[in-house]
Assembly symmetry: C2
Homo-oligomer: 211 residues x 2
């Protein structure tokens, strides 16, 4: 990340936009229509100066003092992040985690739609998980290619994650969210982001005291 | 983060140590005994200079050219991150995600032990999830205080997450891993880290092309 050399906005800035969007959507749900970089900063633990600097990359929202129109800023951020559409997602791995992901209802109103669930296990293939029938990996490439799917979540054991990643690259996937606790090797132009709860907890234990 | 003012090592460095530990453990499992900052960097997509700089905060491991003894470095990192013990973890929320976490077997060999599962729903309390009997939130404070539990995972719906966080702070929790897509407000000295798959995907969609 970022895969595009010509991209001018620092990736670290892009990475903060979803946090701004999440906090703004929350404020909107609370019936608030206008906010400030100060209020946003307090919610996020980010300095208001940083927020103003980040947002300035995308043109002027709200002038100094008058604050941000939340509706407008939400629309703008959704547009910048290409969330003014639904992205279809393939989930690989129908174990406990893959099933939990398949049951989760919080994706659709944030721009994503879980569309397929795949697993290598013949005993799982064909079974129903939430609204999905588990598909075999043999159908992965055709299904994702035909549907121009670009995003996949990997929820398989660590020892299978790289093999699955290779299949996803073969199938034209450009963005992988990897839940397996292993670093994936992918070609240029394919993005990988990682979710590993242990990494977060090990970060925090450094600061904990023995009890 | 970091909660300790006197802590001298930048938090961003501490945050990378679990990634180094994960990659080194992987190399060890592959039977490799010695590695280099170059090899490690390639695995992690981090520059070898950065890795050497980060590790130099903790004294000299492996001299230039001779590389790092993986066993030694793993022990050292586990020691620095206080993983030379098992940290008991409380999971709040026995829904699909909380259940998946309870079933997951990948915590124990990385320094953590899921020890209790709590839920507010009377229909869930008392039921068995993996090796846990779901406990009511009314038992949260006594259980965690008595056992000096310092780490909790929040896997409840967004609208309940802050309330649960307040209860956890009350119960003496110092480190919260929050899966709910909402920013939590906690007092000084309590750490929160976030896991939100949508934030990662929204980060990547910025770079995707319409298909």
């Amino acid at each position: 990340m970022p895969p595009k050399i010509e991209n001018r906005i620092p990736d670290i800035v892009i990475g903060r936009l979803p946090l701004y969007l999440r906090a703004l959507t929350r404020l909107k749900q609370e019936g608030i229509e206008v906010t400030s970089s100060h209020e946003l900063g307090q919610r996020l633990g980010i300095s208001s100066a940083q927020i103003r600097k980040d947002l300035s990359h995308f043109g002027g929202f709200g002038k100094q003092g008058t604050g941000y129109q939340i509706d407008f800023l939400v629309d703008k951020l959704q547009n910048v992040l290409k969330l003014d559409r639904h992205w279809k997602i393939a989930v690989i791995g129908a174990g406990n985690l893959g099933s939990a992901i398949s049951h989760y209802r919080g994706f659709s109103d944030r721009g994503f739609e879980i569309s397929w669930l795949f697993d290598a296990d013949p005993d799982k293939v064909g079974t129903q998980v939430d609204r999905f029938v588990v598909r075999p990996l043999s159908e992965l490439k055709d299904t994702l290619t035909k549907n121009h799917c670009q995003i996949a979540m990997v929820a398989v054991p660590a020892q299978h994650a790289q093999t699955v990643a290779n299949m996803l690259v073969e199938a034209g996937i450009k963005a992988i969210l990897n839940y397996a606790p292993i670093n994936l090797t992918v070609p240029e132009g394919v993005m990988v982001q990682y979710i590993d709860p242990v990494v977060h907890m090990q970060h925090m234990t450094y600061y904990l005291e023995d009890k």
